[in-house]
């Protein structure tokens, strides 16, 4: 009962963060999946025993630690990908802005843009 309450509380917290605009909906999906897996692990003994048997872990509760480690790795990887995408967009925006500024200073359109003098 207590594990279920904790999971529900965390889910409510997740929803609150999304509603307040503090967490992007897309980025909340891995967290949601993590909560689902933790809920399954805390409510279903056979799930944990199955994982333990698959990995050859003799003491089944240790499998929960393994599950948590994999969840954390997955979350970190997701965040790293998100940060990389942000960086790429930041660079693209910077280049676009710089060209906009230079276009004003050059005081003329780029030759391709003017449509003149093209061969």
């Amino acid at each position: 009962m207590i594990p279920l309450l904790i999971i529900l509380l965390l889910a409510a917290l997740l929803l609150l963060l999304i509603r307040r605009g503090l967490l992007e909906v897309d980025l909340s999906l891995p967290w949601f999946l993590a909560l689902l897996i933790l809920a399954a692990a805390s409510l279903n003994r056979q799930f944990v025993e199955g994982i333990a048997a698959f990995f050859g872990i003799l003491y089944a509760p240790i499998a929960i630690i393994l599950i948590v480690v994999f969840i954390l790795l997955g979350l970190i990887a997701t965040l790293a990908l998100a940060v990389s995408r942000l960086r790429q967009r930041q660079v693209a925006l910077t280049r676009h802005l710089a060209q906009h500024d230079l276009r004003r200073v050059e005081n003329r359109p780029a030759p391709d843009e003017s449509g003149k003098n093209t061969i």
């Binding site: 280049r95 500024d101 200073v105 003329r108 780029a110």
Partner: protein, 244 residues
């Protein structure tokens, strides 16, 4: 291919790119020296998020100045210059550093083989690389970059792949335009262009000493540089060869 008739009249076929990060002391001198040595060239200063924005008045009237909103790194600054050079039909882009270490009179020697279409990229090979660049760590890291670059390009890359003094034609610019240049992009530039089969040449120069400060490389920074370069080198080796 677009031809800019205006440029033919003005003769602005060379873009001299100067990246600057909190390095303004010699920009005025550089602007005047470039105007004297290359009256046909256009100077583009890219302020890579300096703490104090560069004062436009220290540059010449025809010089271009663009300020990036935050420090994005030399790779992005180089992309800004290449984007502009390609968009406005510049045939050659020269890069020189804002610290005034690169001799202005050597620019013409870099340009000559490019104009004659004998080379695609000409770099200034420092005969005295120790001037202003301190530290055993920096020397080791740069030596490694040079060794790997020459191995992967079958000797095509220059002996000094860490130099920021270089000139390149539109072919080289187009190839770099399709890549992602990172911080400290010099070895990546020579590695990428060498692997693409471009003609790379080096011209010996004597680097002026720094007026203040020196390059220092701590262990952590060295490890990051090594890691980044190795990943780029592996990527270039495994990926499809870029063709001009």
């Amino acid at each position: 291919m677009a031809v800019d008739a205006d440029r033919g009249e003005q003769g602005h076929d060379v873009l001299v790119f100067v990246p600057s990060l909190n390095d303004v002391d010699r920009l005025g001198e550089i602007s005047q020296a470039v105007a004297a040595a290359l009256p046909l060239a256009r100077l583009l200063v890219v302020d890579d998020g300096s703490t104090v924005p560069i004062d436009r008045r220290i540059l010449g009237v025809d010089d271009l100045l663009v300020r990036l909103p935050t420090n994005m790194g030399l790779g992005v600054a180089t992309h800004v210059a290449i984007d502009h050079a390609l968009a406005y039909g510049y045939q050659i882009m020269v890069r020189i550093d804002a610290d005034g270490q690169h001799p202005m009179d050597a620019i013409l020697e870099l340009l000559e083989p490019l104009r004659a279409d004998r080379e695609d990229v000409v770099s200034g090979e420092r005969l005295n690389p120790g001037a202003g660049n301190g530290g055993l760590m920096a020397g080791l890291v740069k030596g490694y970059f040079t060794l790997v670059s020459r191995l992967l390009t079958a000797g095509r890359s220059p002996a000094d792949v860490n130099t920021g003094f270089m000139a390149m034609n539109r072919t080289a610019m187009s190839i770099l335009n399709g890549t992602n240049l990172y911080r400290f992009p010099e070895p990546q530039i020579f590695l990428t262009l060498g692997r693409a089969g471009l003609r790379l040449a080096a011209h010996p120069i004597h680097q002026q000493p720094r007026r203040h400060g020196k390059t220092t490389l701590g262990w952590f920074q060295a490890m990051r540089l090594l890691y980044r370069f190795n990943v780029i080198a592996l990527n270039e080796t495994l990926g499809r060869r870029r063709r001009p």
